[in-house]
């Protein structure tokens, strides 16, 4: 038997130290566990201060015993290296473990054990925990805002269709892959806008079943038999020309229309809200701010002084003002500068304002990517006879954008989390609805539940976005 030096644990008495150390650590954690989960104070017979500190002391001694260098056990070495490499870190590790154990029961009891979800009124909430009834009752409002209940299928339908149309990319065959960019950049936003405009907004839309429409549909069908060479021009001009000429010049008015269809009930944008509005605002702002930002980034690096300084002034202006003032300006000041009969919806103004604001940030992120590219890439593209646009579209931007995916994702996340600010101009998205719900006299005092709910919702959205950006990074990764 070797001499045992308790102050310097070493490998020769490995097993002894291990058993001793691990059991001490276990005892200390078990003590905290008991007191936290079952409110049992196993060391209650000791003076309060000692009983409070005892787990820490026991655990500390235990960790000291198992701190054996090169023990030969891989796990133990890893633990020693990462959590237990000196006395100070051992104490920190213990404290963190204790805090986690201590905080589980209250969180659990508030969110689950003592919480209520049954019932439809405040009276159902009797426990000490969270009142999820509040969330349940207000859920429709949190998701759809003040949108009329019987019309909410329109929002659902729009979002589901847009989701389906958005996932086309995953199912596209090789043949259609090359059109995907065009689809996502141009066609998809237009479809999305039409959905929002006709479906969610509604209003008196006339569907025009006229001879003109029929004639132009016929013209389109004929178009498929036109030789390839002229197809593009044919499709660009002929159907539209046929429609316009029939409607405007040839047929007298009473023959033009075969029938009209009333549109859906109009719901003004002031009534939109909740999560749906968050999505709408974020979606359009993301779509608009990206191309604008890209143009600004290129503009700022342009050699033409006019374009360059316009971009610089624009970027620095939007980066220099707080978003909240931009929103105020867009909703209060901006309409004053417009002509009398010109009306722009508040939501549209807000979307434009946020887009321009974020575009300035996106521009600077993209400019960083452009500057990170070696000059040789520009030289090589130029030496092959590419002009400015070809060089940027095929060589520079694909590489630069790939470099700035993390930065862009950052900006976009910030954008999504900035959307609650539209509260100040009276548009109530999810955080705005919370604000409204918590001041409702029937439901006073449940702001905590509301904020937790909003936090979870935002976290899910943002986490999904950041995961997606990681995926993109993986997908476009090439070795340099």
């Amino acid at each position: 038997m070797n001499n045992i030096n308790f102050l310097k644990p070493d490998k020769s008495n490995l097993n002894l130290f291990l058993i001793l150390g691990l059991s001490l650590v276990f005892i200390s954690i078990f003590d905290v566990f008991l007191s936290s989960f079952f409110k049992i104070n196993a060391t209650g017979f000791l003076p309060t201060s000692i009983s409070f500190l005892l787990p820490l002391i026991i655990g500390f001694i235990g960790l000291h015993f198992i701190r054996i260098e090169y023990s030969g056990i891989r796990r133990l070495d890893e633990i020693n290296k990462n959590f237990n490499n000196n006395n100070f870190n051992a104490v920190l590790s213990l404290l963190i473990i204790f805090i986690i154990i201590k905080s589980i029961p209250p969180v659990l009891s508030w969110t689950v054990i003592d919480a209520n979800i049954s019932g439809n009124s405040k009276e159902a909430c009797t426990g000490d925990g969270a009142c999820w009834t509040y969330i349940k009752v207000w859920l429709r409002r949190f998701i759809y805002g003040l949108y009329p209940n019987e019309e909410q299928w329109r929002i659902n339908l729009s979002f589901i269709s847009l989701l389906a149309l958005g996932s086309v990319g995953y199912f596209a065959t090789e043949k259609f892959k090359k059109y995907l960019t065009l689809y996502y950049v141009v066609i998809y936003p237009i479809i999305a806008f039409l959905f929002i405009f006709f479906f969610i907004s509604g209003g008196p839309v006339f569907f025009d079943f006229s001879y003109g429409i029929i004639a132009s549909v016929v013209a389109i069908i004929i178009g498929f038999f036109v030789p390839n060479k002229f197809k593009l021009y044919y499709f660009c001009f002929v159907p539209l020309a046929v429609y316009l000429s029939l409607n405007l010049f040839i047929l007298p008015e009473e023959y033009v229309e075969l029938g009209k269809l009333e549109g859906l009930n109009w719901v003004e944008t002031g009534a939109w809200g909740g999560l749906a509005l968050t999505f709408i605002v974020s979606f359009f702002c993301l779509i608009f701010c990206f191309p604008v930002g890209m143009a600004l980034a290129l503009g700022r690096r342009s050699e033409l002084p006019f374009i360059k300084y316009t971009s610089v002034v624009f970027i620095e202006f939007w980066r220099g003002v707080p978003l909240i003032t931009v929103l105020f300006m867009s909703s209060v000041m901006f309409p004053m500068f417009l002509p009398e009969d010109f009306f722009l919806d508040k939501l549209v103004r807000v979307i434009i304002a946020i887009s321009l604001f974020e575009a300035a940030y996106v521009a600077e992120v993209i400019r960083g990517g452009l500057q990170a590219l070696p000059r040789g890439q520009y030289d090589a593209a130029k030496s092959l006879g590419m002009g400015y646009w070809k060089m940027h579209i095929f060589v520079i931007l694909p590489q630069a954008l790939k470099l700035v995916i993390p930065g862009i994702a950052n900006t976009f996340l910030a954008l999504v989390k900035d959307t609650p600010l539209i509260l100040v101009v009276g548009l109530l998205e999810i955080a705005g609805m919370l604000q409204m719900a918590k001041t409702n006299p029937k439901w006073l005092g449940y702001s905590m539940e509301g904020y937790v709910f909003a936090a979870v919702v935002f976290w899910i959205i943002c986490y999904a976005m950041s995961k997606y950006s990681y995926n993109l990074e993986e997908k476009y990764k090439t070795e340099r």
Binding site: P374, G376, Q377, D379, A380, A381, K382, S383, L384, G385, M386, G387, K390, F394, V395, P398, Q399, K402, Y476, T478, E479, R480
Partner: protein, 244 residues
Amino acid sequence: MSDTIIQIKDVNKWFGDFQVLKDINLNVEKNKKIVVCGPSGSGKSTLIRCINRLEEHQQGSIIVDGNELTEDTKNIEQIRAEVGMVFQQFNLFPHLSILDNCTLAPVWVKKMPKKDAEDLAMKHLEKVQIADQAHKFPGQLSGGQQQRCAIARALCMEPKIMLFDEPTSALDPEMIKEVLDAMVNLAKAGMTMIVVTHEMGFAKEVADEVIFMDEGMIVEKAATNEFFANPKSDRTKLFLSQIL
């Protein structure tokens, strides 16, 4: 005169206060191979970068294939399409496969159908012996392979003139030979070439003329044999004694 494809007359260029090119006069005839050598900082690279206007000269005139290089952009792009260039750092496009690197410019600049461009690219990749790597990305290739791909990429534009800016300086010694072999084959096929290089073996083998530059001036210009056998200026002698 009719055979002259590049005509450089009294060209001067400054970077700020520093004069990089001083009164350069040079005529290059069709199918001639010119090697430019000289110590670093002597303006060799700047000179050949002026020929496709990656650098702008401030005085004098440069006429490439009958077109004078001026501010006019469209003109520049046409000339660049006829002048291939190979760089010291390869400068392949890392986000495109080898094949796409080669077809990008023919398809978008010369409006060649994609299929024809691919055939052409494969032909040139075959010539530089990396046809089997066509679907890899530049980052997966060795330096020598990358440089040969860069040569193929330039050739895909079917240029009249090829410029080489120290094509072997960034390579490991054992890779230099494969790149030089590709260049020798190109020279034998009758391409007009201007090569900035320190590879005197290559110069002896293919060059019609050798130009020695120092401090922005052309110090000596002579037929290859003459240049190596009895250099005239002392500066050239010193340079040759160090490099050979």
